[in-house]
Amino acid sequence: MSMLRVENMTHFFGGLRAVHNYDLKIEPGEVHGLIGPNGAGKTTIFNLITGIYNPTEGEVFLEDNKLNGLAPHEIAAMGIGRTFQNMLLWRHMTVLEHVKMARYSKIGYGLIGAFFGTPRRNREEAESEEKALKLLKMFGVAQFADQWVPNLPYGAQRRVEMARALAMEPKVLFLDEPTAGMNPEELVQMMEIIRQIKEKFDLAIFLIEHRMKVVMELCERIQTLVFGEVIAEGTPDEIQNNPKVIDAYLGKEIVE
């Protein structure tokens, strides 16, 4: 049984066909890459699976639970964590609060606990704080725990976002261009982090990435998306040598 399964998904924005007959199978523990030129529809696919858009056609399953029609927060609570291409962090919240917030669906104390500060609430909050600090330590940002996120360096912000996504204890982690805007040094660090996540956590990763180096090194299977259609799927080697992919990225060679 695959972890995440998408069958025959198509989506229209008005008259524009953004995604066409998209199929996906991610196995547990797999790192699956999604590459393609700008505007190919990669982020749209993320948004379709995570419930921000409702696909016009097609079905999405997480471990055989159908996700279509659920609200984004319900889909997230079922086990899809994500980061965003342009980093969506909360301006006036501390790093620690970010990570604790991702455990929202696991809160059991309810309104009574929130209003009256019951022992159960104190216990759960302390537990969640402990887990959050552990994650922050793992990502090397524990020293920023009480800082507001905009005060952090860019690379640290990216790591906070990733720690936040992992605090949800997801089954599949969606990473939307985790290395965007990074210098070569930060890039190497980020790749190391993703590798560690793969080792230490029991989850599958679905990765959108522009940089070939990252995808080729990290992913086990790669799909290439062009104008909303998958033109090639396979292992990194197969993709690298696929003439269609080369065409899409570099343009066609003109034969004399």
Binding site: H73, L88, W90, M93, Y104
Partner: protein
């Protein structure tokens, strides 16, 4: 090296640093006991001292009213302020700080809850004795405490959740009328609702129920604003909430059952100072508990980025719904208290002027902060009373002050600060 650098700094610099240093060493207990002693002093020698200084009676509101009405009496009033309030508090803070720090440490070590209760009792005692000297003071204290509840509850929506809601006077009106109808119809012989059903003697025990019902009525009304908030944000929601305020106002004006535009009077006199004080403390406690829990922090997440909140499993609809209902509940409770303090309400009280007042308190004090709400509500309502002799100029000075705060501190005086009672009662080192 150190000695030379000490010599280099000018004496005025040094004394300023000293004042700062010893003020920061005074525990909250010190200020409270200082205030209590000042109040005791006023009770003992206030009137004779005022006479001796050329004032007709002890100033009711720190002498501001006298100073503004009769500028010739400024020296006398200022001296009174200095001798009765500033000097005793200052002396206690200066010389008893070490002993009180030790006492605060003992209390805090013994039990946090007990220590907090002691602090609250001291605060209440100071307020009670201070306001005991004139009816006007009692009214000012009660209205200020009610303003704290309203400001704090509006801060939940406007500060913590970041929506600009204008419906708070409407919520207050719903609470005021619901609580009043409950108490007047059951316990008072009144021409609108006829004879009392229950004996007035047991009435005070039902007052919390009346306040609760007022809160519930406001919360039910808040659904009208909460449901549109799922689909729209910002300016549009502000207009919807403003519309709600006017709807409530004209609804009550046209409801002859509750007196229509003439208003509803003869509420029983149950909103005494202890009741108002305890309600305010409970309100601060519950709201502070809520906004510091992860469920409450979800409001901040929704404010700062709703899409990210959704992706992090936060149920944004539930969060918004809850915030509106919760805030409206407390506004309703405040409305119920307000009606029973004035013992008369009419719909025109809950109009645009009230809205401006409450918004000023929220934005003056500071967004997203319990301290801010307390400071904003207290300073604006005391300022409003103190500047009363200036009549129309009051409405120039207060807005001007607000503009200055907005220029120098755009989010208010004490914004984005967590209120922690445990930290507040700690001894200072």
């Amino acid at each position: 090296m150190e000695s030379t650098s000490e010599k280099l700094s000018s004496p005025s610099m040094l004394s300023r640093i000293n004042i700062r240093a010893w003020v920061s060493k005074v525990p909250l207990l010190g200020w409270l006991i200082g205030a209590l002693i000042a109040v005791g002093l006023e009770m003992a020698i206030g009137t004779p001292l005022a006479r001796a200084l050329g004032l007709s009676k002890a100033p009711t509101l720190f002498g501001f009213l006298i100073m503004l009405k009769k500028p010739l009496l400024i020296p006398g009033a200022a001296l009174y302020l200095l001798l009765i309030y500033l000097l005793p508090i200052g002396l206690i803070a200066r010389f008893a700080a070490a002993a009180l720090n030790r006492l605060a440490a003992i209390l805090a070590d013994f039990s946090t809850v007990f220590s907090i209760l002691i602090h609250l009792a001291l605060l209440y005692l100071a307020l009670h004795l201070w306001s005991g000297l004139s009816d006007y003071r009692v009214l000012v204290v009660k209205l200020t405490l009610i303003a704290v509840i309203v400001t704090l509850s509006l801060n939940v929506i406007n500060g913590y959740m970041g929506e600009f809601s204008c419906s708070h006077p409407g919520f207050m009106a719903l609470g005021a009328y619901a609580a009043s109808v409950f108490t007047v119809s059951l316990f008072v012989n009144d021409k609108l609702f006829g004879v009392a059903v229950l004996p007035a003697a047991i009435g005070p025990f039902f007052f919390p129920i009346a306040l609760f019902l007022g809160g519930v009525a406001a919360a039910i009304g808040a659904m009208v604003v909460a449901i549109p908030s799922f689909r729209t944000r910002g300016d549009y929601l502000a207009i919807i909430s403003l519309a709600f305020m006017f709807i409530v106002k004209s609804l009550i004006e046209n409801l002859e059952v509750v007196g229509g535009p003439r208003g509803l009077g003869s509420q029983p006199d149950w909103a005494n100072l202890p009741t108002v004080f305890v309600t305010t403390v409970i309100c601060i406690w519950v709201i502070n508990n809520f906004v510091r829990s992860t469920l409450g922090k979800a409001l901040n997440a929704v404010r700062d980025n709703e899409m990210a909140a959704d992706a992090m499993t936060v149920n944004t609809r539930r969060t918004k719904f809850l915030a509106f209902l919760f805030a409206a509940f407390w506004a309703g409770v405040a409305g119920g208290l307000f009606a029973h303090v004035l013992r008369y309400v009419n719909p025109s009280t809950f109009g645009i002027q009230k809205l401006a007042e409450v918004l000023a308190m929220v934005y003056f004090g500071g967004l997203n902060s319990v301290y801010g709400a307390i400071v904003g509500a207290t300073s604006i309502s005391l300022l409003g009373e103190a500047l009363r002799p200036l009549e129309i100029f009051k409405w120039i000075i207060i807005p001007l002050l607000l503009i200055l705060v907005m220029i120098f501190r755009p989010t208010g005086l004490i914004a984005f600060k967590e209120f922690d009672a445990r930290q507040l009662i700690q001894p200072k080192k």
